[in-house]
């Protein structure tokens, strides 16, 4: 649920990075954190295990700029990708205004991508949300790896509805901001429609 604070002249939106384990969700946030001007970001919070696997969530507050005199603030969250953390994923997904599905481009991870995408649809449905009506983009990550599947094949397997998609190599930052911008535009357009009644 977007939150508009007239007293503080702020628009607040929540975006969740979803995807299978080790697909690069946390890396996306780390790259954004590393590259954004200090004045436009808050602390990057990572609730992770000792082996740096996300246990509950990562969180990064980000300010994108002004729109009609309102500061636009995005709260970026990641979910834990490992299958057995489904209860945590459900909690973090609540109230989201947009979802970025980070797909691992490697052939051997195709099944995990499909499983995670189905899990996303189920968890959104449990909240009364429909993926097709929620601001949603796909990021095909790890494009630099030799075992990366051609994008056309990934599109056929993961994106039959042709949601906006981006190629990325999150470890170098390539495609990370393009994905975020693409999502932010969808979220703000969704908000615009709601505010117009």
């Amino acid at each position: 649920m977007s939150f508009i604070n007239y007293a503080a002249r702020e628009i607040n939106c929540k975006v969740v990075y979803y995807g299978p384990g080790l697909c690069g969700k946390t890396t996306n946030l780390q790259q954004i954190y590393a590259r954004v001007d200090p004045g436009a970001k808050g602390k990057l919070i990572s609730l992770a295990t000792e082996s740096e696997r996300t246990l509950f969530f990562d969180f990064l507050p980000l300010e994108l700029g002004n729109i009609r005199g309102f500061k636009t603030r995005f709260h970026l969250y990641t979910v834990p990708g490992q299958v057995f953390y489904d209860a945590s994923r459900k909690l973090i997904l609540k109230g989201t205004d947009g979802v970025i599905f980070v797909a691992d481009s490697q052939l051997e991870r195709l099944e995990s991508n499909i499983e995670s995408l189905e899990n996303l649809e189920t968890n959104l449905h449990d909240q009364g949300l429909d993926l097709t009506k929620t601001p949603f983009v796909i990021q095909y990550n790890k494009r630099d790896l030799p075992s990366a599947v051609p994008v056309a094949d990934l599109q056929a397997a993961l994106n039959p509805r042709n949601a906006p998609w981006f190629e990325a190599t999150a470890s170098t930052g390539a495609g990370v901001f393009e994905t975020l911008k693409g999502t932010a535009k969808l979220v703000l357009n969704d908000l615009k429609q709601k505010m117009a009644g």
Binding site: F3, Y6, G42, R68, S88, L91, G95, A184, M195
Partner: protein
Amino acid sequence: MSHRVLILYEEDQRRLTGNLRSLCAGAKSRAVFLIDKNGRLLAQAGEADVVDTTTLASLTAGIVAATSGLAQLLGEREFSALVHEGAQESLHVSMVAGEAILVVLFDRQSSLGLVRLRVKKAAEEIARTFATIGTQGDRAAGDELGQITDEDIENLFSA
């Protein structure tokens, strides 16, 4: 479309801040925060800059969500309050009207008993205030943000 939009007007925030100020003084606490379930700060009172409120709001919402999940696992409707007790500083966290999270930061100038007592009364007042806060559809029509254009959104990313 996804979820609805929570809109907090200046008048709403003044009233909520008034509720929180009364609680802060009555509980002899350092600061009081009201947070939405999605981890965004709605209002605060007491000492300024005592903590990074953005991080506090996000982590508190996470704790409350996880605790609520635990309650359901045990067949409880909810665990009504959480207390984090430190050597110097403590936090009392409770739900208000099932919609918002009330956080009281207190030190040895106060006590858990006093905080609990004051929170109970304040929660009713805050719930009454919160019930009048708008979501989109009531006062949003003709609102300035309803006039956002595609160009406005593009401009945000052109810099």
